[in-house]
Structures are given as structure tokens and as C-alpha cells.
């Protein structure tokens, strides 16, 4: 997989969650995603950016235009140095929440994208990588 373009954005506060949504939207438009695909990717980005902020205590998102064969897509890699997730399968379950949300963030965003990878070490932080192909 080739990374054609990349940009690293900080997620330190709520205004930056909104900014991530807007920049992800702009990249989706550049990639000529359909309106539904744009909306799915922006919504997934919003959920994960909020997780990074609230559960990870802030972090970054790396936006990448990726190419594989003749397909192009958008990859978002969210990273934080927060407390980590002790039980990932449990955290992925709908309705499971430790915060004030609805517990749809992780499981829900997985359903909105094509590829979803998560890794986390207690005490080390969490990394979530998603791709939506055009």
C-alpha cells in the first residue's frame, strides 16, 4: 500500500474534533467519495477523535491518502498516550461505555469503514487505524 499524501493533526480539545471532521470531509471530497461515503467517514472520524480526546486525554490523527492497485482510499490513524484499553473485545461491544457516551464509538465506527484495526497497551496508549476505500 502506497501513501500518496499525509497530514498530522493534533486533537487536544473539542474545537479540534470539529476541525478534524471538517478536514476529513475536505479530503473525502478531494477523493470524490459519494455523499453517503463522506458522511460515514466523517462520522467515524468524529467518534474516534472524541475517543482520543476523552479516553486518551488527547492525541493525534494522521490523515493518509492510500493507494493499492487501482483503488484509492482514506486512512485515518488515531493515536493517544492515554491509559489504554484493557479489554478490547469488550470495548468494541455496542452499549459498552466507561464515559458519558452511548458506547457506540468503537463498534459503530467499525461498521462505517472498510478496514478497522485497533491496538492498545494498558498504560501505553491506543492506536486505531481505519480505511474507507472509494
Amino acid at each position: 500500500m502506497v501513501v500518496a499524501r499525509t497530514e498530522l493533526l493534533p486533537i487536544r480539545g473539542e474545537p479540534e474534533v470539529v476541525m478534524v471532521r471538517q478536514i476529513v470531509r475536505a479530503w473525502c471530497v478531494d477523493l470524490k467519495f459519494s455523499l453517503v461515503d463522506q458522511t460515514k467517514m466523517v462520522t467515524a472520524a468524529s467518534e474516534l477523535a472524541r475517543n482520543t480526546l476523552i479516553h486518551g486525554g488527547g492525541g493525534t490523527v494522521d490523515l493518509q491518502v492510500v493507494e493499492e492497485g487501482d483503488r484509492r482510499g482514506l486512512r485515518l490513524v488515531f493515536e493517544d498516550k492515554g491509559p489504554g484499553i484493557p479489554d478490547i473485545p469488550l470495548a468494541m461491544k455496542d452499549g459498552y461505555t466507561t464515559g458519558s457516551g452511548m458506547g457506540l464509538g468503537l463498534g459503530g465506527s467499525k461498521r462505517l469503514v472498510h478496514d478497522f484495526e485497533i491496538s492498545s497497551e494498558p498504560g501505553q496508549g491506543t492506536r486505531v487505524s481505519i480505511i474507507r476505500w472509494k
Binding site: 473539542e14 471532521r21 471538517q22 458522511t39 452511548m102 457506540l104 462505517l112
Partner: protein, 131 residues
């Protein structure tokens, strides 16, 4: 502080969300609306989200909360104008907005509120509403 305006139209309150809301703004709207319902004795609340290009679980939860709080304050809520792409995404995200009444257009939303208030009328005769 940044706020989403709440307009009063007779018995109803009207909110049009035209900005990409951050979480605090959504929380403020929730508080402002409940306060305004109590102050004005409004019987219905219409939230126009036709300008919203995205509804995530936080905003969805805010709409559910507003509906529940309004109901407890004896007002009906209707969310109008959701874009199709937003609806598709919400369902896939796993949010069915249970308990939130929706309508496609502002007109239909007004009709719903008028009907809901008429059929649910008569409960307001306990002197809580002086007018």
C-alpha cells in the same frame, strides 16, 4: 459564549442548527432549551437539522435527551430535515434515535406538533399556565 438561538413561535420553540456543533455547544443547547420550555410554557419544540452534514453518537444522544427532557416538561419534540446520508450513517452507526419524533420537512413538523398538542391538550388546566 457561542450559543444556538432559540426562536419562539406562539406555543412552539424553534431551533435551527446551522453550525458544526462541538460537544459543549450541544450541551449548552440542551440546557438553554429546557430552561426556555419551563420559562415560556412552550408545548412543542422543533429542531431543524437540515443544515447538519453529520450526526454522530454525541449529537444523537443530545437529541434523545432533549426529547425526554421536553416530554417531562410536557412539551413535544420533533426533529426535522435530516439529510438522507445522515440517516443512512446513523443507522449503520447503531443509533436508531428511539423516542425521537422526526419529520421530513418543517411544514410536516409543525403539523405534527399542532396535532400532538391538540390531542394531548387539556392537561394544562392545573393552573400552571396562567394564559
Amino acid at each position: 459564549m457561542e450559543r444556538i438561538p432559540i426562536l419562539r413561535m406562539g406555543n412552539f420553540l424553534l431551533v435551527t442548527i446551522q453550525v458544526d456543533m462541538h460537544d459543549r455547544l450541544a450541551m449548552t443547547l440542551q440546557e438553554d432549551l429546557t430552561k426556555k420550555i419551563a420559562e415560556t410554557g412552550a408545548r412543542g419544540v422543533m429542531i431543524d437539522i437540515s443544515a447538519l452534514e453529520m450526526v454522530d453518537s454525541f449529537i444523537g444522544r443530545m437529541m434523545s435527551h432533549i426529547s425526554s427532557m421536553a416530554r417531562i416538561l410536557d412539551a413535544k419534540t420533533v426533529v426535522v430535515g435530516m439529510q438522507p446520508a445522515v440517516a443512512i450513517t446513523l443507522v449503520e452507526l447503531g443509533l436508531s434515535l428511539k423516542g425521537v419524533q422526526t419529520a421530513l420537512t418543517v411544514e410536516k413538523g409543525v403539523r405534527y406538533l399542532e396535532q400532538a398538542v391538540t390531542t394531548g391538550g387539556g392537561r394544562r388546566t392545573n393552573g400552571r399556565r396562567p394564559h
